[in-house]
Amino acid sequence: MKQTQTQNQHRPKRYGMAIDLDKCTGCGSCMVACFAENNVPFKQDETDKLLSITWMRVYKITNGKKFPETEVCYLPRPCQHCAGQHEGHSPCVSVCPATATDYSADTGIVSQIYTRCFGCRYCMAACPYHARYFNWWDPVWPAGMERYLSPNVSPRMRGVVEKCSFCFHRYQLARDKAYLEGKRAVSEAEYQTACTQACPAGAIVFGDLNNSEHAVYQIVQPDAHNHYKSKNPYAFRLLERLGTNTKVYYLSSREWVRKAGDNYLANEEPGASHAPNQHG
Amino acid sequence: MFPFNFEWVWDMGHYVFHGGLWYALTVIGLGMTYCIIKSVVDTVKGKGGGHHH
């Protein structure tokens, strides 16, 4: 036990998420909690989902069967914080020409520096999850509504890309607090994302995938020697076969849902995927 | 772009990339400098007044 603790302290953190799709009701609290926490702007018409900034987006997927055999499942999609095939080789980080999005080796979080971004949108082209959003417009709040904006997250100017940061400002606040209190590490409860906190169904679990004491580790059972692939038979990651090596895991007891997580040829079964080729 | 930019790392990527870059910039820069200086010298020497080389 002692050994684990020392290990945990010395290994870099790897923040990740496990979302239980059996529990998720598709209510959308995570989306709104995220809007409110991160000063996400809104427009008069948000029905064009290709122009709607939703760091966390809840997808509705179905099994495609007829009434009353139809089944639906909701799938919340934050930024997947890909690590890639070698640590930090996320699809987006590797392509950003101005180092405006970066991979933190300490936390595994993919950051976005709005003031550095000059809006080339290459990262958006690179992201298969559509987790990145561009500020096509100046963010405008109806007169008076800007009063609810949180000082912890700067509103983004027009012309830059933004995305989920795993509420990194919460990590910073927790880390500063821990430092002031003379503690070494940020505890599991001290750093939770807004969506995790808000989920009324308790479907989201967030924590350090390198820390065996964290709930997310226990649920996911990541295999550190195999690109953190989960050893939990009910867990899957989105588009695992592309080698994105994401930190958001999904759990479902339904096979069709697990199968919807990745592309499979007609003769393949989920789980048939093997480690993809090395990239650049 | 320069070693004093904070994202600079001394690694193979930077050696190769910036090696190539600064090499090209140097060739272009020196080439143009040479042309301009030589032209100034030539002009001072009185060349180029005519309509032929």
């Binding site: 598709g26 609290s29 904006l149 906190q197 | -």
Partner: protein, 739 residues
């Protein structure tokens, strides 16, 4: 100028080269980027000291605990309370999370307004609070002096807690019995409790301890009761391998998560419940201990279901195979702590008395009344120990005239309020109602047949709205006396919504009032004082805050600290007994027999309207007093709303037969109204059914909400439950024509 050209050229080139060598262009480039990083029109939220205030959300009847994060004098985020009565962690529903958009939003009424009609145009003119109160007082005094105090009515969003009770008290002292509250499933439950148990109260659902939930269309995962409490309960149920059965015509989110989805024909819930009762009784699987010891009328109940609700008959009505009904009923009876739940959607509309009685009968048959994991009988909150009101002669005469909606009369003996009957009374005999006070509700939008409601409102000579928002009803008002919103005021909010632990939430001012608004409680007290005499005497408080502090007494310090007060959960024991004459729960007697034997209200049959339009409740939309905030509208799927156009969802088969592809425009026509809609094919909708959410199609509010989609209340009419008089509308006949 001989040298001109060459000179000029040299000058330009030299100048350019020279400037390039100075720091100027570089400095300029740098400055421009810094400017682009700090555009003055992109807001920078000011920093300040962070604080957390515990309060209660008032946006829906669940009244969940919230914690509001403030920075200096601004509220910046609402979160679910970590420690609260329902122990739901920090979870919150998206309406609760969006509350600050209502607080700081542009649709708030800025101060008291008076409606002015000039040259045929209507506008609202700001007036002073003194004038606003004076005008209300003058009008009320005038009506009273004419001996018509009963012509004043109040329509309120709630009827428990100090503010609604102050209102009731004002009307009583004034001389009117017309305090009408907006309808919900609580009305049906309350009637059932009175009829079967002789108790005034509400039903608590012990979802935390049940192992089998049989839900009759209740949107447990879409906002029924307290959304986070229900979701967590269902999560626990599934984790502990319990069973969730959802009987509903549409594949709702609850149905999607259910272990068994009974896709029943719309409106056949009561038949299904009674059919299941028949199976349980005929197979002898009822809890004979409970039935024998604590119920009366079992034999006649058994005879009734045997006669009328044989499996084949029920299968016909519900569309569910007899063996499925039997299996489900037996599984329900076989569970340790089964619970049947009543109330379609979020439970914000009533169901028929027959339906609630049938479902409660199921609970009784398996002994799940006042048992762990069952339906609990919760007594009405009675913490208001105010002195009795002294009625003068005018008041006595006025009250003796009874209620305009007929609730509690011989015709409708089982219910307390009938909002739609009030509307019909206005419509039928203009003049009976001279003045309407509207508080914390938006009937012109949220009652079925809303166009008719609006027309009735036109006939009311004087309407006072206390709305914080410029909603559809406020727009019809002659005076608007805006209330503070819940984040600016103190108020006690007793929790019902299926709770098993009597809880009183406390709303606390998180920020000081932003606008020229006044607490509704203070407005009531000021009106009462203005009316003088006995009426003023009935209000011995300096202001609302002192009234509240006095009422809550010793609990005040605790409540203002944690934001709520909760008693111990009521002991779950059938030994509690019932307050009927026999002390037993009545399964069947003459009154109930008549109700059971009556047909459930149905939509007028086929013919010209081959389809059925069924509204559903979405957790991403609100359909009550407050409008859906921008954050929530942003989460609405593009198959529900696209641009300004709303969708009607139908089965691909139905679409095919009508020649309507997904995305086509169509005209939706019902006997009540018609609307232009887009078609969306959805395999989760029963063939022959059109499915549409409540909560869209506002004509009021701002451009983030107004004119988006269709208000389904304009398309559905009232459907009066013959037994209770409640409007149990759950759909309407409809047709869909390609546009």
């Amino acid at each position: 100028m001989k040298l001109s050209r060459r000179c000029f050229l040299s000058f330009v080139l030299g100048g350019a080269a020279g400037t390039a060598l100075t720091p100027l262009p570089w400095k300029l480039t740098d400055d421009l980027s810094i400017w682009s990083q700090n555009w003055p029109w992109t807001p920078v939220p000011p920093d300040g000291a962070t604080n957390f205030v515990n309060s209660t959300c008032e946006l829906c009847p669940a009244h969940c605990g919230i914690t509001v994060r403030t920075v200096a004098d601004r509220a910046v985020k609402i979160e679910g309370q970590e420690e609260n009565a329902n122990k739901t962690g920090g979870g919150a529903c998206l309406l609760g999370l969006s509350g600050l958009q209502l607080l700081y939003g542009p649709t708030r009424v800025q101060g008291p307004l008076k409606r002015i009609e000039e040259n045929g145009t209507i506008r609202f003119q700001p007036i002073s609070w003194q004038q606003a109160i004076d005008e209300v007082v003058a009008k009320m005094a005038e009506l009273r002096s004419q001996g018509k105090p009963q012509s004043v009515a109040c329509l309120s969003g709630r009827d428990v807690g100090t503010v609604p009770q102050l209102f009731k008290r004002l009307l009583k002292a004034y001389g009117s019995a017309n305090f009408v509250s907006m309808p919900s499933v609580e009305d049906a439950y309350a009637s059932a409790l009175r009829l079967t148990q002789g108790i005034d109260g509400f039903v608590g659902l012990d979802v935390e301890n049940t192992d089998f939930i049989l839900s009759f269309g209740s949107a447990l995962l879409d906002g029924y009761g307290s959304p986070q409490r229900m979701m967590q309960a269902v999560g626990r149920l599934k984790k502990q391998r319990g069973t969730l059965v959802q009987a509903e015509s549409r594949l709702s989110n609850t149905a999607a998560k259910a272990d068994i989805w009974l896709a029943i024909k719309p409106g056949s819930e009561a038949a299904l419940a009674l059919g299941m009762a028949q199976v349980i009784i005929s197979r002898g699987r009822y809890n004979s201990d409970f039935v024998n010891a604590h119920t009366e009328g079992f034999d006649s109940f058994a005879a009734m279901v045997k006669e009328k609700y044989a499996p084949s008959a029920v299968a016909e009505v519900t569309g569910i195979a007899p063996e499925v009904i039997a299996q489900t009923a037996l599984a329900f009876a076989g569970a340790k702590n089964p619970l049947a739940i009543c109330g379609r959607g979020k439970g914000q509309t009533p169901v028929s008395l027959k339906e609630v009685l049938a479902i409660q009968a199921l609970n009784a048959l398996v002994g799940s009344i006042n048992r762990k994991g069952g339906a609990q009988t919760m007594p009405t909150y009675d913490y208001l120990n105010w002195p009795a009101v002294e009625l003068d002669v005018t008041a006595q005469t006025g009250i003796a005239k009874g209620r305009l909606d007929g609730a509690g009369s011989d015709k409708y003996p089982h219910v307390g309020s009938l909002a739609h009957r009030l509307i019909e009374a206005i419509d039928a005999s203009a003049g009976e109602l001279q003045m309407l006070l509207v508080a914390e509700c938006n009937p012109c939008y949220s009652l079925p047949d809303s166009d008719k409601v609006k027309a009735a409102f036109e006939k009311i000579p004087f309407i006072v709205s206390f709305s914080s928002f410029m909603d559809e009803t406020a727009r019809q008002a002659d005076l608007i006396l805006p209330n503070h919103v819940y984040l600016e005021r103190y108020e006690d909010v007793p929790v019902m919504a299926g709770t098993v632990q009597p809880t009183i939430g406390l709303c606390q001012p998180v920020v000081s009032p932003l606008l020229n608004t006044q607490h509704l409680g203070d407005s009531i007290i000021k009106i009462a004082l203005g009316l003088q005499g006995n009426i003023a005497k009935a209000f011995p408080w300096k202001n609302y805050e002192s009234c509240l502090m006095e009422t809550l007494g010793d609990q005040w310090p605790l409540m203002s600290d944690q934001g709520y007060w909760a008693s111990e959960a009521a002991a779950s024991s059938s030994e509690r007994g019932f307050s009927t004459a026999s002390g037993k729960l009545i399964l069947m007697n003459g009154t109930l027999g008549a109700i059971f034997m009556a047909e459930a209200p149905v939509t007028a049959s086929g013919g010209d309207y081959p389809l059925q339009l069924i509204p559903y409740d979405s957790i991403r939309l609100t359909s009550g007093y407050v409008g859906t905030p921008p954050f929530m509208i942003k989460t609405v799927e593009d198959t529900v709303l696209k641009g300004q156009e709303g969708f009607v969802a139908l089965n691909p088969e139905t679409g095919k037969s009508l020649g309507l592809a997904s995305g086509d425009m169509a005209t939706l026509i019902t006997p009540v109204g018609q609307a232009s809609v887009r078609v969306h094919h959805d395999d989760g909708v029963m063939p022959g059914v059109l499915s549409m959410p409540r909560g869209l199609g506002h004509s009021a509010y701002d451009s983030f909400l107004a004119a988006k989609g269709v208000n389904i209340n304009q398309l559905i009419g009232t459907m009066e439950d013959p037994a209770s008089g409640l409007d149990a509308a759950w759909g309407i006949r409809a047709k869909l024509v390609k546009a």
